[in-house]
């Protein structure tokens, strides 16, 4: 296992789940993520796991809810429209404090859209597309290796916080192959004393629920959840940064889009430009502090996204005061090319310091 293997992103993600001790998959087919269920339908059989093709995404997320409540590491995966259908279930899982993994290999939206790479589901993922005050832990890989590593990490964080986690990737990351190093030692699944498995004689029976009707109970519960989210922000933000002494502009992007940005950074540096690069890996909790510090040094920030500007909100909410910010956005399957990015970065370097909130 300790050799590099060429592997598809979706398969690496599935292997990550298996390595994390996940033995239960519930899901409904949808392009472009079918490699995950197809692979796991065979792979889980090898490790005495259970693969169920559910009748719908709603059934999937609720089977996941049940399996999670029974104490298992379990997962589902889907894409845009299917993830939309899971929002009620994710809200229930967050409300009932159940860990579990949902994977969104995004499509283009809104509607049926298309299956090209897109980052249009950022808001849904980070704001909680369901009802109520909650968040899902969101990790955004940008390589096949991270499809593997962050899947394991997602299970860990989900259990640490008793909160659902979501991997946000797209067709590029799901379909591409890169060399991957798989871990040798599979993870130990932690014991979960809160899980329901039936109550041995003498021990009290347990409840898993999100319904609180008595005065103040629900407000207390909401603040309890809020504290968990604050703790996440303090302890578990993840970020990759490649800052340049004296950088004149900072490029911000996540997921597959950051690969284009990395190419642009190389091109820029080849031309002697001083550019920095920062990539939020955890989209929730958003690495605001890291961004603030880096933006302070750069003074100018160029956000690059494959949507019409969603992380753009979080970037602007977390800039050092006085920074100028610009957005290079391409929705609907358009992929910003390294050349385009470089051009925008150059423009910013040349431009004055005014806050340029324009969208190109």
């Amino acid at each position: 296992m300790s050799e590099r293997q060429m592997m598809k992103g979706s398969v690496a993600l599935a292997e990550g789940a298996v390595a994390a001790g996940c033995r239960y998959y519930f899901g409904y087919p949808i392009t472009p993520q079918n490699d995950i269920p197809e692979y796991l339908s065979v792979r889980l059989a090898e490790v005495d796991g259970v693969f169920i093709q559910a009748e719908s995404e709603i059934a999937s997320i609720n089977m996941l809810l049940g399996a999670a409540a029974a104490g298992a590491r379990a997962m589902t995966s889907s894409s845009g429209p299917g993830i939309s259908l899971m929002q009620e279930g994710l809200s229930y899982m967050a409300g009932s404090e159940l860990p579990g993994l949902a994977v969104n290999i995004t499509r283009i939206g809104p509607g049926l859209g298309g299956i090209a790479p897109s980052q249009g589901d950022y808001f849904q993922a980070t704001r909680g597309g369901g009802h109520g005050d909650y968040h899902v832990i969101v990790l955004a890989p940008n390589s096949v290796q991270e499809m593997y590593d962050l899947t394991i990490k997602a299970f860990e964080l989900a259990d640490k916080y008793r909160n659902p986690a979501l991997i946000l990737a797209d067709a590029i990351l799901g379909q591409m192959k890169e060399p991957v190093l798989l871990h040798d030692a599979p993870q130990r699944v932690p014991g979960k004393e809160w899980a329901l498995k039936g109550a041995p004689v003498g021990l009290p029976t347990k409840r898993i629920k999100s319904l609180y009707l008595k005065d103040d109970e629900m407000e207390k519960h909401n603040w309890h959840l809020f504290r968990k989210y604050s703790q996440m922000r303090e302890e578990d933000t993840m970020v990759e940064a490649d800052l340049d002494e004296g950088m004149e502009v900072l490029l911000v992007s996540f997921g597959s889009c950051s690969r284009m940005v990395q190419s642009a950074v190389r091109m820029a540096r080849d031309r002697g430009l001083k550019v920095g690069y920062i990539r939020p890996i955890s989209l929730f909790p958003f690495p605001g502090d890291a961004l603030r510090e880096a933006s302070e040094k750069a003074g100018k920030v160029l956000t690059v996204e494959m949507n019409t500007g969603q992380m753009w909100d979080d970037v602007r909410l977390n800039l050092a005061p006085g920074c100028s910010a610009r957005l290079l956005a391409r929705p609907g399957g358009g992929i910003p090319t390294p050349g385009q990015i470089l051009e925008e970065a150059e423009k910013m370097i040349k431009a004055g310091d005014e806050v340029a909130k324009s969208i190109c």
């Binding site: 590099r4 060429m6 392009t31 472009p32 298309g114 299956i115 090209a116 790479p117 067709a171 590029i172 379909q175 591409m176 192959k177 890169e178 060399p179 690969r259 284009m260 940005v261 990395q262 190419s263 642009a264 950074v265 190389r266 992929i335 090319t337 390294p338 050349g339």
Partner: protein, 187 residues
């Protein structure tokens, strides 16, 4: 070292496979590599293509607008991609299936390769046209060594498919040789 190539043709021609072999060999060379298929629409049939990027440094974009090389196995794929190939890049065209008159880029080191005929007549198996094309590409680009690709072919297949390995090696070598000769010819 940085090289990116688009491999393209119809579904069923084994385009993704030769991309896979190339990427695998590059990995065995210790290089960074990405293999990226085109994400088609949710329907059957049609075109198939993939992009392989090989580099001595960490790879950013796994796709490319201006590839160093192109392997084209169908008319539509030639038409779609030849305009994008970098100046003085490489183009390997399967003239058994592609209309030679469609080749427009004079600046490229292009060798018209009747891969299906070569496969059928020289390798003895018409299904090896894709492998012939890969051999030719290796000769033209030099991006990965022939040894590593042969090593890959040997480690890649399991079970019943292993019996084709000798034929594949033969196809690789025939393609390689044709390209070399063609280039000398042209040079």
């Amino acid at each position: 070292m940085y090289y990116d190539v688009i491999l393209s043709g119809f579904g069923g021609q084994g385009i993704l496979l030769i991309g896979d072999l190339l990427a695998h060999a590059a990995m065995l060379e210790g290089l960074h590599v990405t293999w990226m298929p085109s994400y088609g629409v949710e329907m059957r049939g049609g075109a198939a293509n993939c992009t392989v990027v090989i580099s001595s440094e960490k790879i950013g974009s796994p796709i490319t607008d201006e590839p160093c090389g192109l392997i084209a196995m169908s008319n539509p794929s030639l038409l779609k991609f030849q305009g994008k190939v970098k100046k003085e890049g490489l183009m390997v065209v399967n003239t058994s299936l592609v209309d030679s008159q469609l080749i427009e880029r004079g600046d490229l080191g292009t060798v018209p390769l009747p891969a299906n005929e070569i496969a059928y007549q020289e390798v003895g198996e018409h299904k090896m046209a894709n492998i012939v094309m890969l051999g030719a590409f290796l000769a033209g680009s030099g991006v990965v060594s022939m040894e590593k690709v042969e090593e890959t072919v040997d480690s890649f297949f399991e079970g019943g498919k292993r019996k084709n390995i000798p034929l594949m090696v033969k196809a690789l070598r025939r393609g390689f040789q044709h390209q070399k000769e063609g280039m000398e010819h042209a040079g």
